[in-house]
């Protein structure tokens, strides 16, 4: 069967080529230029979907992106795309589509039983039942409801396509390429302004494509082609078909989605499926046209009942007839235009039913003035309508399609995205853009309520001129073609008054006039209550085809004028946007960038296992052949550091250079402990507080010169500490002579730790530096050279508690340095260690890290209370004095060791007294960090314990209900190795 309803001629389709496609497994043919909907209609297919709630049979209502009914699953496999509007899906050869939300088939849908029960399934019925017995909601009712929920199906496979994002800048963004938009783009483009002309359609021209208008007595298509040709020749104009401007954001930023490859079977290699453009505009002109609204009457939802404008668009643009015998139901002259066009295409006009008693007559077909459609017939597609004539009689009219025209709603959406409300225009019985537009945005043409073609052209050109004048760009109005300039004549008419049958407002969500009446009856009269109670306007068209009618009915019921009833909020996006597009390339492994340390390649060669530390990748441990468990590896690394020497890349720690004559004074205010008197060549541990008194970060400050410090931060806080320093420098003490710069990426830094550390360093650091304990003691620092002249910085600091140094070289030498250290130390047993061993070493030594300094701890809790100087003002000092910061009973950092060495200690276990009930009331603290200590020979932990400093030696319980353990642990001082610091000073 081939294209039975394709008209003999006409249309903007390429009849010379045939495209083959399938819908629900059946094969059909169409032409380039078709949408899926137009091609199906041309093949005599009206039934394309089912409604959400009642599973009513549905065909397309529209010919555009506002479509609520003809939603299909497009494509197969991982590219399956649910809820795709057949009315905008561009036909390509091999397209496959399936209907959705029906079982077992579109023609026979078991859940259509809901339609039979609809008298009970009214608006909000579910709020009134399904409550007994209580447990049945999760077990019975909700599973049943969810079984029926939803429209299309996700493929459940990773989206195989790529998406891009980009930025565009322009003087004037023109949204919509109908007559207004084309005139605007031409005006601004000729003036040399940077113009972006974006339109959601794949064919530019807007309604000009759907009408039989003439411009300067030639077909409108000729004029459109000429303008597009000129725009293409203008260097500052960018024309973007298939691009929907979806949101108007602050300061002239618009979000737009370009469908780059949706009209292709699959994207070409390297081609993104879609692009999210952030368009930075100096001015914008909304020329988005208008959407035709239906009239509500009994059973107005059958396949074959469309917007009248859509009916003629299918005929004029696509050469497709919805049926051979057609009726029109209208409240304005616009419906008559449909009848005229279809008649001209040779279709039979069964009747034009016009609610106006003074409806214009036609020589070509019957006009029933003052009449209304009161009913329809046809289970899976329209077969006829019932008309109540002006004299009160009824008449059956047989037809396969009915065009309905209730007037047009300007597409005001983008004008309201920043919270503005539209204004009611009684002359066209529609909301038009209000006075409070987003800054920089103006509106022209039908979007502004100007419905004639000549008016649209005029306003488009004028809008561009006004925008350019604003920007100081000289421009002249182009000569505009002669076009129809008919005044819009409309008699507001929203629904056919009737107690019988159901009249649909929101076709997808199955909200009828009765539902609105019920909402009113139950007090849900505010427009937002109406929406939320009935779900009206919450369908995929976001009320484009439904809201206006419902508002009008609510106005009738409440006796208020429509503008007082108001509108719901217009929210982005204008039409739904694929999530893949909004994510762009930031997904999977590319979700966030990776920062690699300078020794990464070397570590990878050693077979290191890496771990994510923020955005960094760090070597976690370095397994050796024969090691079967990570613990084996880590224990070996730890013992190597404790007995010989280990090397570890610590580049990720933040490094900040602080310079200036006031550098010392500055750091004295940043750290809670004193820094002013630190001697040149010395390093000091520093604790930084937030202004609220909690520990912010810790690290070291090394004084390389009177006016030069190098500060280290933790990896996690490197950025925040630097930002904080800049805040203090610029906002608090702007005249201090101090400059700060982050050098985290500039220096590779390697820890060399263990009793043989000095021996190893002596082989790398040039002999000009005396590394003896006297000359370079614990907490010394110096600028040195290594490997025969390479500048470096050496700090004798220790995280592990061993004799240890950190050696920094310019980042590009980090790889060479670690290789040099490994080569030089082979006979010393030099061992690379990773973050796991680092963690064990610092827990053994009792150094606080991120698990302890987590933003909820004070200096006192860390056992560092006396570091907070009271002699000076430093950030956080004042508020740190609030005693309650430490908890009701002050928490203190303690060490924890299991009484039975075989018992585990896990971080996150809570500390309770022996014999206390296992409840929150007995909770006295928690384990912050835990590890197996090869040095101690058991698991060990650090933790915060209420009154901990006075409880050394006490046995408490480390309780982990999640893991089902309850372990007796001894409270010990938090230094499991070398508590007196002899090793690190050796």
């Amino acid at each position: 069967m081939s294209q039975t309803n394709r008209l003999a001629g006409g249309g903007l389709i390429d009849r010379s080529r045939v495209l083959t496609f399938t819908f629900d497994g059946r094969t059909y043919q169409g032409h380039p230029g078709d949408t899926l909907a137009s091609a199906l209609l041309a093949n005599g297919v009206r039934l394309m979907g089912r409604s959400f709630k009642y599973h009513r049979p549905r065909g397309p209502l529209s010919a555009g992106s506002e479509e609520p009914n003809a939603l299909v699953e497009l494509r197969d496999g991982a590219r399956r795309e649910p809820n795709t509007r057949a009315t905008t899906a561009e036909l390509f050869d091999g397209l496959t589509a399936r209907s959705q939300n029906r079982w077992p088939s579109l023609r026979f849908d078991a859940l259509a039983v809901n339609d039979r029960l609809s008298t009970f399934l009214t608006a909000g019925f579910y709020y009134k039942t399904f409550m007994w017995p209580r447990s049945f909601w999760e077990k019975v009712y909700e599973p049943a409801i969810r079984k029926a929920a939803g429209l299309g199906r996700l493929s459940m496979q990773d989206d195989p396509d790529v998406y891009d994002k980009g930025f565009l800048h322009c003087d004037l963004l023109v949204i919509g390429a109908g007559p207004a938009g084309l005139a605007a783009a031409l005006t601004a483009g000729r003036a040399g302004a940077r113009v972006i002309l974006a339109d959601e359609d794949f064919r530019l021209g807007g309604r000009l494509n759907a009408e039989t208008l003439t411009l300067d007595d030639a077909p409108a298509a000729d004029w459109v082609a000429a303008i597009l040709a000129e725009l293409a020749s203008l260097p500052t104009v960018r024309v973007m078909p298939r691009t929907t401007v979806v949101g108007a954001f602050d300061h002239g930023v618009y979000g737009a989605v370009e469908r780059v490859a949706d009209h292709l079977p699959v994207p070409e290699p390297g081609m993104p499926r879609q692009i999210l453009w952030r368009i930075y505009s100096r001015r914008a002109l909304l020329c988005a046209g208008a959407t035709e609204r239906p009239i509500a009457f009994a059973d107005n939802d059958r396949p074959g009942i469309l917007q009248a404008g859509a009916l003629r668009a299918y005929a004029n643009r696509w050469g497709a007839a919805v049926a051979r015998r057609v009726a029109v139901f209208t409240n304005s002259d616009d419906g008559h235009r449909t009848a005229r066009d279809l008649h001209a295409h040779g279709l039979e006009i069964a009747a034009v039913i016009d609610v106006r008693s003074d409806a214009p007559r036609s020589p070509d077909y019957e006009v029933l003035a003052g009449a209304q459609v009161v009913g329809t017939a046809g289970r899976l597609g329209l077969t006829g309508i019932t008309v109540r004539t002006a004299d009160g009689g009824t008449r059956k009219v047989s037809c396969g399609a009915l065009g309905v025209s209730g007037g047009w709603n300007p597409a005001v959406h983008l004008t309201c995205h920043q919270g503005a409300r539209p204004r009611w225009d009684a002359a066209i019985a529609a909301f038009v853009p209000g006075p409070d537009l987003p800054p920089g945005l103006a509106v022209a043409g039908a979007a502004a309520g100007t419905f004639s073609t000549a008016g649209a052209l005029r306003e488009g050109a004028a809008g561009a001129l006004a925008a350019l004048a604003d920007l100081g760009v000289a421009a002249t109005a182009p000569a505009l073609p002669r076009a129809e300039d008919a005044p819009a004549g409309i008699t507001a008419f929203w629904h056919v008054a009737s107690d019988a049958g159901r009249a649909w407002l929101d076709q997808q969500n199955d909200v009828t006039v009765k539902d609105v009446k019920l909402a009113h009856q139950e007090g849900f009269r505010a427009v937002e209550h109406l929406k939320r109670y009935t779900t009206l306007g919450m369908a995929t068209d976001q009320g484009k085809t439904s809201n206006m009618g419902a508002l009008a009915i609510m106005a009738e019921l409440t006796g208020k004028p429509i503008p007082e009833v108001g509108t719901t909020m217009f929210r982005p996006p204008y039409t739904p946007v694929a999530l893949g597009t909004l994510a762009g390339r930031s997904r999977g492994d590319d979700f966030r960038p990776r920062r690699l340390t300078p020794t990464h390649a070397w570590a990878a060669e050693q077979g290191a296992v890496f771990v994510e530390v923020g955005t960094w990748m760090r070597a976690q441990y370095f397994p050796r052949p024969g090691e079967t468990h990570w613990r084996q590896t880590v224990d070996r690394e730890v013992l190597a550091v404790r007995s010989a020497v280990g090397v570890c890349d610590v580049t990720t720690l933040g490094k900040i250079d602080v310079q200036g004559t006031d550098a010392a004074s500055f750091l004295d205010r940043i750290y809670c402990n004193g820094m002013a008197k630190l001697a040149v060549g010395r390093v000091r541990y520093g604790l930084m507080l937030r202004e609220d008194g909690m520990a912010k970060d810790d690290g070291t400050a090394a004084r390389l010169a009177e006016d030069h410090f190098v500060v280290t931060t933790t990896t996690a806080n490197a950025v925040a500490v630097f930002r904080h320093m800049e805040f203090c420098r610029q906002c608090l003490w702007p005249d201090l002579d101090v400059q700060v710069i982050s050098t985290t990426d500039a220096w590779a830094q390697i820890a060399v730790a263990g009793p043989r550390a000095r021996d190893l360093l002596r082989r790398v650091v040039d002999p000009t530096t005396d590394l003896s304990n006297d000359a370079f003691p614990f907490m010394a620092c110096a600028a040195v050279t290594v490997c025969g002249g390479l500048r470096a910085r050496l700090f004798r600091i220790s995280f592990s508690g061993e004799l240890a140094y950190e050696l920094a070289v310019p980042a590009r030498y980090g790889d060479a340095l670690v290789r040099a250290l490994m080569a030089a130390g082979a006979d010393l047993g030099v061992t690379p260690y990773g973050t796991e061993a680092l963690g064990v070493l610092r827990i053994e030594k009792g150094h606080a890290a991120g698990n302890e300094i987590n933003g909820q701890t004070t200096a006192r809790m860390l056992g560092l209370g006396r570091m907070v100087s009271s002699k000076k003002d430093s950030i956080g000092a004042v508020l740190s004095r609030r005693e309650a910061l430490d908890g009701p009973v002050p928490l203190r950092l303690v060490g924890l060791r299991p009484v039975n060495p075989a018992d585990p200690v896990v971080a996150g276990a809570h500390l309770l007294a022996r014999g206390a009930p296992t409840t929150a009331a007995s909770d006295e603290g928690w384990v912050t960090s835990a590890a197996f200590s090869p040095h101690v020979g058991s698991a060990i932990g650090l933790g915060f314990l209420a009154g901990g400093e006075g409880r050394i030696g006490e046995i408490v319980r480390a309780v982990d209900p999640l893991g089902g353990t309850d372990v007796a642990v001894e409270v010990v001082v938090p230094h499991f190795v070398d508590p007196d610091g002899e090793k690190l000073r050796a």
Partner: protein
């Protein structure tokens, strides 16, 4: 949003990090008698106006300037942006 940087011209707000009320410039004297009260108010209380709001933005992905931006919290319209160090000096802050 777009922030009119006084040195660099219009810059996307994405380049900035937001801190909050520009009164955070007015840090009290930590050695004063009433420091506890003053720091409570400084650290915790906010006018939080619906309308013009002077606020601190840090050009982290840029020149590292802290700015005082005057912005309407209802419309998001930005009235002006100044270097925070200039504002601080104008308020008498120095060393």
């Amino acid at each position: 949003m777009i922030i009119p940087h006084p040195l660099l011209g219009p810059r996307d707000a994405q380049e900035f990090v937001y801190l909050g009320d520009a009164r955070l410039i007015d840090r009290p004297d930590g050695l004063a008698e009433d420091a506890a009260d003053a720091f409570h108010d400084y650290a915790y209380l906010r006018d939080n106006p619906a309308g013009e709001h002077q606020e601190l933005w840090y050009h982290e992905q840029g020149d590292r300037s802290w700015l005082v931006v005057t912005r309407d919290t209802v419309t998001h319209r930005i009235l002006r942006a100044e270097l925070a160090s200039d504002v601080a000096r104008a308020q008498g802050r120095s060393r």
